[in-house]
């Protein structure tokens, strides 16, 4: 089977149009980033606290907002996380500027006071851990094991683990009746828990808190990583090919990164550490694509010395076109699968790659080669001028 047969598109003759379009998109993107909302920088870089909790029932968001506002932490953002029927809420607040500290605990305490006041002193199966449960059971000793605390703790430990495993799988206990579904509990323990324990309204899924010092650190590291990896690419291609090709590849890289950043700004997706990882992967991928074309150009130049570079480039792009499309296609297939099935946490990561691969494929055809061609032209002209000057 074949998708593309032998093609002979004059790709390079479209270079003016392609470059003009790209420049327009990039300029519009930069304008949007600087004048509009800009990138939605996550707490990894600006500092702040982000908490994800799962509720038993859908909580009233306005209520929650009012409660969080009482904490006096800058501009809280509260939104649904994942699918609505999961009752998952993300709360994000800025930390007070310049202050380091634990900002997770006060938010959780506030949620506890707001939603779990009915529980009182009873043991909350949704927030307490297995060790606490072991301690509680060992102290109460519903099975009447007797002996010292250590022996009792060892006896009750598997039961506590079973209860926590259930929470691990379900995310949250919605009612005490669910204890019936847990095998491995003795009847007295189950009865004891049903009598004395309680299920709170929420369970903690995750919490991230980044102070200003670490935020600045991470920001600097991310910038350095991106800059150095692009420089690394330039040097590698410079050595393996020639300077004009290195410049062509790097210009294509900047092109891909800038357009992907624009897509991130327009969709207001969160820019965080995994996003940087995705951007760096994109850098690797984009150059990968370009190198395949350049490799072919080099090979063809060896075979047909003296041939016009533009014609060689066009031929090379055409020869590698089916590979370019198939590879982009298979990679896109898996990235789409990641985008659809990967869940909220990985979604932005997949989005960056999705945009990046499409743009990267375009740029390796329409940007990298034309720039390399132009650079080569400049180099040749300079050499001729020097030679002319030398003769005189």
């Amino acid at each position: 089977m074949r998708i593309i047969g032998d093609t002979n598109f004059p790709f390079l003759s479209y270079r003016r149009i392609a470059i003009t379009i790209s420049i327009l998109v990039i300029v519009a993107g930069l304008a949007y980033e600087f004048l509009g909302h800009g990138l939605n920088l996550g707490i990894d870089f600006v500092g702040g606290t982000q908490i994800t909790v799962k509720f038993r029932e859908q909580p009233d968001l306005a209520d929650l907002r009012a409660a969080i506002a009482g904490l006096d932490l800058g501009s809280p953002l509260i939104q649904r996380f994942d699918e609505p029927e999961k009752h998952e809420i993300m709360i994000r607040v800025e930390n007070p500027s310049g202050v380091e500290g634990d900002f997770t605990t006060p938010i959780l305490e506030l949620l506890h006071a707001k939603f779990n006041s009915a529980i009182g002193n009873r043991f909350d199966l949704n927030t307490k851990g297995s060790l606490a449960l072991v301690d509680m059971l060992a102290a109460a000793d519903p099975d009447g094991v007797g002996g010292d605390m250590e022996g009792r703790s060892a006896y009750y430990e598997p039961m506590a683990e079973a209860v926590l495993d259930f929470r691990k799988q379900q995310g949250i206990f919605t009612s005490l009746d669910q204890l019936d579904a847990i095998t491995g509990l003795s009847d007295p323990v189950r009865a004891y828990l049903q009598k004395t324990a309680a299920v709170g309204d929420f369970a903690l899924l995750g919490a991230d808190s980044v102070g200003p010092a670490v935020g600045k650190d991470l920001q600097r590291k991310a910038q350095l990583a991106i800059i150095f990896s692009i420089l690394g690419m330039l040097v590698y291609i410079w050595i393996r090919f020639q300077l004009p090709y290195g410049i062509g590849a790097v210009v294509a890289l900047f092109h891909d990164v800038l357009i992907t950043l624009t897509a991130l700004a327009v969709t207001q997706r969160e820019f965080n550490l995994p996003t940087v990882a995705a951007l760096l992967t994109l850098v690797g991928y984009s150059v990968n694509d370009t190198v395949v074309v350049f490799d072919r150009v080099r090979e063809n130049l060896r075979l047909q010395r003296g041939e016009d570079l533009e014609k060689v480039m066009d031929a090379s792009i055409n020869q590698t076109l089916s590979r370019t499309i198939i590879t982009s296609g298979t990679t896109l297939l898996v990235v789409i699968s990641l985008f659809i099935f990967g869940g909220d946490v990985i979604n932005t990561f997949a989005f960056v790659l999705l945009v990046g691969i499409i743009v990267g494929t375009y740029s390796s055809v329409f940007i990298a080669s034309p720039v390399a061609l132009a650079m080569n032209g400049l180099l040749v002209k300079r050499r001729e001028r020097r030679r002319a000057a030398g003769k005189r």
Binding site: E100, G129, D135, K168, I172, A213, G284, N288
Partner: protein
Amino acid sequence: VDKKTLWRIALIVVVVGLSLWSLYPPKEKIHYGLDLSGGIHLVLQVQTDDAIKAELDDSAQRLVSRARDEGVELTQGVSNIKELSFTVNVPAATDTVKLREIADNWVPGYTAQPGAGVWTFELPPNMDRTVRDMAVRSSLETIWNRVDQFGVAEPVIQRQGMDSDRILVQLPGVDDPARVKDLISSTAFLEFQEVVGGPLPDRQSLLTAIGGSVPSDSEIVPGDREGIDGAVIGTDFYLLKKAAIISGQELRSARRSQDQYGQPVVNFATQPHAADKFGQYTGSHIGTRMAIVLDHRVISAPVIESRIPGEGRITGNFTIEEAEDLALKLRAGALPATITYLEERTVGPSLGRDSVVRGVRAAVAGLLVVMLFMLVYYKMSGLNANVALILNIVILLGAMAYFGATLTLPGIAGVILTIGMAVDANVLIFERIREELQVGKTVRAAIDTGFARAFGTILDANLTTLIAALFLFNFGTGPVKGFAVTLSIGILASVFTAVFVSRTLYMIALAGRERVESLSI
């Protein structure tokens, strides 16, 4: 099949065999990162200024008390952390020669600067770093002790860099983050102090009761007021003697227990030398109150009913957990300085589980689609590529297990991405073989040139991705680092499978056939 092919097969079997062996059983061999197993990642800063202040205060106290022993009356002035100095008030009639002698003996290294009525003592220049370094080291040790007793599997507790005052703590599988956080960061500085005034419900009335000012040897410390049922109903203020009767460091053991009413308490035993001190004090102060102060807050102030020898009990309005944790902290020792959080990442166990399920689902879906495509597009050669792809994943996971690399959520994405990019090498080769066939080469020649020509390109293309992964590894933390590792191993494995394994598969397929007319590609 000729000898050369056999050797190649043997090598592949060994590599794949080793991978499977190091991978089995996968549940134990593949380490999940914090983001998949659930757990807590903390970056803590040790406030080393606290340690400096303690050093200055201690030195000042030592100087004043030793001087008094030798008949020189001084009073303690102030400690200045910025200038690394403390002052003592020196009355005009003091024998300055003798004072210098005492200072040389008891606060050695400090440079004394006499002034009008006030002498300033500066910390020896290299002591600054030593004190801070010691504070971080002993904090590290204390946190280790606490985590160790709490029973967390495979904890990571280390200093971030040689000279830094930051400590990285990673505790996988923790299901009660709030408790662990409290356990790690609370100073757990325990002292038994003499109550000289109070308790009264507010600071002002306590001040009035003691005549308007706090004596220099005493301090006001708040504490919880309990109602009849034991619930906290407000705050009380106590006036306490600054000098402790004994401190937490002088305890030998501490254990959670229950009193006669079933209320959780902490039983303790003191070290021998402290037992005498404690016994003497309690014996001569029967009927007075003694405050038990934890981190500058009174947790209870019982009336001494009899002489307490080396063992006693701490009561307070504890829950079982609180009593357990307090006993644990007392056993593990106090932190020499307060600790602040710079970074905290908690992943609940259910979120991590959810991520694994979804990641695997995405990987399987992606893998199936790609394999189907390769099969349809390249027919038997596609099958060849698919075998290589499966082996690629086996080798990737095996290598990760072997090197003890952790699988993180972005790492799963890395595996998935590898699937997409691994077939790239095969695509490059197959397209090249098709071209060679088109210009009329024989099947064997086309395969030979196809592999040879494509190899340079594959090398170049994969090296660029490897460079990016290297920088990612260098800058990345936690999950991102995991991604870089997965991606790098995946790239190396894919070059091996796509070039070496695929080639061998062709060799096997074409072996023993004299003339090969066509290739299914």
